[in-house]
């Protein structure tokens, strides 16, 4: 009787060391996964990627502008003021390059404001050039117009996808139990694009 009770603990200790320890490590590795660390990393990466897409599309718009301005100069020299506004708004917008780590709500708002300005200036330009019927038959201008319009659509899609990614990410770090430790792993809530009042009021880029 005494032998068994002495023997049993040593066996269990042995068993534990041989098989249970690695088992526990395996289980804890899997639970860490289900606790969502990897999931949070993935969602965080998606946000970064979507932000890169947003920037690409804004850059694409900025890249179209010099060509557009050059084309218009030949036709609409009187509209220098509007053209200058566009060029200036572009310079301001492109000077703001935000890394995904710097995406605080204030920064994002500034970024959005600069891009919104550019959008407004472009919209005014497009209204002004309506006065020049020659442009309507200029193939170069027509293609730029189509590209610009497409870029605006892409920007809105990229923003929409970014917001969706942020929403999923924010929801994932704020759910229980992750909310208790997400912060200590460095996962913080991210900012959204807000629907712009000005965007709705800005002259519609109608081609």
């Amino acid at each position: 009787m005494q032998i068994t009770s002495n023997y049993f603990p040593t066996l269990s200790n042995n068993l534990f060391r041989k098989f249970m320890l690695p088992f526990f490590i395996a289980v804890s590795a899997l639970t860490l996964q289900s606790c969502g660390y990897n999931d949070m990393v993935e969602k965080d990466e998606t946000v970064s990627q979507k932000w890169a897409d947003v920037q690409t599309q804004y850059q694409r718009r900025a890249d179209l502008i010099p060509n557009l301005v050059n084309t218009l100069k030949g036709f609409a020299e009187q509209e220098k003021e509007v053209l200058t506004q566009v060029v200036e708004a572009r310079a301001k917008a492109t000077s703001m390059n935000l890394n995904v780590e710097d995406l605080t709500p204030e920064n994002l708002q500034k970024f959005q404001a600069a891009q919104g300005n550019l959008r407004g200036a472009l919209g005014r330009l497009m209204v002004v050039v309506e006065k020049y019927p020659d442009l309507k038959s200029n193939q170069n201008f027509l293609e730029l117009q189509a590209q610009l319009e497409g870029t605006e659509n892409r920007i809105s899609v990229a923003r929409q996808k970014f917001n969706t990614a942020v929403q999923e990410y924010n929801a994932s770090i704020r759910k229980f139990p992750r909310v208790m430790y997400a912060g200590s792993f460095g996962f913080e809530k991210r900012a959204y694009f807000e629907a712009e009042e000005t965007a709705k009021e800005a002259p519609k880029v109608e081609f």
Binding site: K18, F19, P22, F23, I25, A26, A29, L30, Q33, D53, Q57, L142, E143, Q145, A146, Q147, E149, G150, T151, N153, R154, I155, S156, V157, A158
Partner: protein
Amino acid sequence: MKQLIFILSFLFTTVAFGADIFDKDGIPTKPNPPRLVNDFTNIIPDGEEAQIEKYLEELALSSKTRVVVITTPTLNNYDKAQFAYEVGERWGVGEKGFDNGVVMLVKPKEVDGKGSTFIATGYGLEGIIPDAIAKRIVEQEMIPRFKQQDYVGGIAAGLQVVSDLALKEYPASAYAQKSKKKTRVKGIGGGIIFIIFIIFAILSRINRARHYSMGSGTSIWTALFLANAMRGSSGGSWSDFSSGSGGFGGFGGGSFGGGGAGGDW
């Protein structure tokens, strides 16, 4: 008289389908079974509709480009670009990973006096159908015919150009090569990692029992490393096989980025 018939038929179809075709956001719901031609306004006669459907199915099989034609009585306050994009994105037109889908949207003029059309291109097709080209197709092939109420003619002419372009981009052979890589299965991954982990752990214990002076840490790290390597290689998903049942293999799960162009008349 022709005008009147048009209006009446629109009203009828709007009433008949109005409630059914749109989801809660006002975007048409994905047809089941999947169809490439979705004529919700009945502007395409049934015979032609079947012909176009067949043509597009063949195009989907030979070029892998999925082209969806959709006519709608209303845009539900969406911009035409947004509407076409939403249809493409929600239905998942085009293959996953290739995003080679096209949505050709037509909203006839007869319902509320403004006709709109838009060709939306998936990410993968933005290169061969750039916005400027899409614009040209809309302005030169489609709208002039739509103005004369020749909807079938306009749609067919537009599709002709789109398919000519698409056939150059994705010849079946290049596609086959490209798609070879993505036939892996996810989900088993976790189980395999676990089993490998256990095997390694047990082996390491046995090993350790034999030469108990050696450290045991390394083999666990080896196992972790192997497990990671395994995980990295399992990329694809089941949806590649199970998507849809149409003659063209279903919509596929493609994604759109806002590319394309349109016009009004």
